[in-house]
Amino acid sequence: MRRSRDARLAQGDSVRAPPATRALRAIAIVALLAWSLGPVAVGVVTSISSQTDVQTVPARWLPDHATLDAYRALIAGASTSLGSTASDSSAFGQSMLSSVEVTLEATVASVAVSLIAGYAFSRLRFRGSKALFWAILATLVIPVFTLVVALFRTMAQLHLINTQLGLVLVYLTTQAPLAIWLFYNYCRDLPVEPEEAALIDGCTRWRAFRKVVLPQMRSGIAAVTAIVMLLSYGQFLIPLLLGSSPSTTPVTVLITDFVGKYTTNYPLLAAGGVIALLPPAIVAILLNRHIRGMLSGSVG
């Protein structure tokens, strides 16, 4: 049985847990925060360091003179100690844009398609629905690389290699089974009475779905949107193989190009990493409650 938060508070850990346990827990929490934020902090500090700061041994944890040179090089194409980045900076801007664009398009489409399918599988009765549902879920276990190698030829035949549309279609489809499963679970756990009431009042199924069930699913939609968005934005192998022309390269792929090209220019690479992590970090922080609820709820 799941107990309410208040009941837990009232019954209280503080009553039961001896001081040693509480201290141990506090240490664990601090360690976890350090572990989670450490690499991000290193990235931020590195991005505002100069090459000399980064190359001193033993390492300087903080730069002598904080500088935004790396960001300037990356965004405005200013020249760095290792040469000009003019063409790469425009490529970087372009790739951020195309990452965000493809992610948003794929997310909207994937959520729309999966939402109606998840609802239909959980609430509507039609012949073959069970079999189809399990067939779709079974595709969840197909690892993405199996697919991407096989997809490469199909996409080439359809002239969708190196197009944004191609990436959107592939993301949308590969995320759909997970999204359908999450929506199915979510819809199944919602109370059915409002939909029943709407039907009693003479609504059609479709209208009842739009006017009654859809508003009930708001939090679930927010969660699945965030999850699909994060997964789409983080795609690497698929765009590496299917979309690496200048107009479609997402930032994840471009950053690995930079790693090869600016191997030891840590400030520049870190600045790229910091900019690239902003969109997912913002989504994760704004919607973290929904995401957590959905991820842990889908387990129980």
Partner: protein
């Protein structure tokens, strides 16, 4: 029509209750409306999956049964499962499999041990818990390629932070080239675990919250201490959540690629099975063997996932 009858009809429509005699007449049309709508709502998803998942898989499987055509477009000979046996016999496959076993073992050990510790520390309420959980989820939210970039300076060879710290602590005497050493695989796994751990922790927290407090109070009365409670109550009751966590961790680790690619490229000393597939297909341009390899790994992954799930189920029953 009277209200109860309508209610009955609605329940019948939704499939929640037995049909009353009054609703019998209208059932076929309502059921047809429902089936009609149901199909329309699932067709877009089903069509996309058929076109972009099932169809390429079938074409890919067919490719894997033929010899790689010497020139593009030339007819290729049916060779049955010979590509598969070629892959199985290839020494490069063996080393990739061994590497992958290491990735998986290290990742799972770290994820389950650290995940259990973190979940136990975080599952009860405390001030600021929401904030801590929001921060904790961050590594999972970031693209694994970006995680790799963030970790690069830590793992760098001459002036990396790990080298600096260990030198200052006199644990090493010269800077190590970590990613060319025996530490390459454990360290890349660490970066991988950084991104996966939040999901594992969330799953285990959900599992812990499903354990009723009464069980603990009862055993406390019986004089069980916390360590005994953990072994004899928490772990057995957590088994379903652990099974999910292990399955997710397992599949994620078997298919590790991004972190390796960004930290060490396709270097053979750290190549996992997916890196090896990448090399086969996109460096050697050998689709037939690459797809055969991919299917073998997919089958092995599915098998591992099924075994993990079944093992946990049998243990709980």
């Amino acid at each position: 029509m009277a209200r109860p009858a309508l209610k009955e009809r609605a329940r019948a429509r939704l499939g929640f209750g037995p049909l009353g005699p009054a609703a019998g007449a209208s059932r076929p049309t309502l059921a047809r409306e429902e089936a009609w709508l149901g199909w329309w709502l699932v067709i877009p998803a089903a069509a996309l999956i058929l076109a972009l998942v099932i169809y390429p898989m079938v074409v890919g499987f067919n490719t894997s049964l033929h010899a790689e055509a010497p020139t593009l477009g030339a007819p290729s000979k049916f060779v049955g499962f010979r590509n598969y046996s070629d892959v199985i016999k290839d020494p490069a496959t063996h080393s990739a499999v061994v590497h992958t076993v290491f990735y998986v073992a290290i990742a799972l050990a770290l994820e389950i041990i650290a995940g259990l510790g973190a979940a136990v520390a975080l599952h009860r309420p405390f001030r600021g818990r929401g904030l801590v959980l929001a921060v904790l989820i961050l590594p999972w939210a970031l693209p694994s390629v970006v995680s790799g970039v963030l970790w690069r300076r830590i793992l760098a060879s001459d002036n990396g932070l790990l080298n600096s710290v260990l030198l200052q602590l006199h644990l090493i005497h010269t800077p190590q080239v970590w990613l060319a050493s025996g530490w390459a695989i454990p360290l890349i796994t660490l970066v991988h675990v950084w991104g996966v751990l939040p999901l594992i922790v969330l799953i285990l927290i959900a599992g812990l919250q499903g354990i009723p407090d009464e069980v603990y109070s009862a055993s406390a009365v019986d004089g069980a201490n916390q360590a005994r409670q953990f072994w004899h109550i928490t772990l057995p009751l957590l088994r379903p959540a652990l099974a999910v966590a292990i399955t997710i961790g397992l599949v994620d680790a078997i298919t590790i690629f991004d972190e390796i690619y960004v930290l060490n490229g396709t270097g053979l000393n750290t190549a996992s099975v997916v890196v090896q597939i990448y090399n086969t297909v996109f460096v050697d341009a050998d689709f037939a063997h690459g797809i055969a390899f991919a299917f073998l790994v997919a089958a092995a992954t599915a098998l591992c996932a099924v075994v993990a799930t079944l093992a946990s189920r049998r243990a709980t029953v």
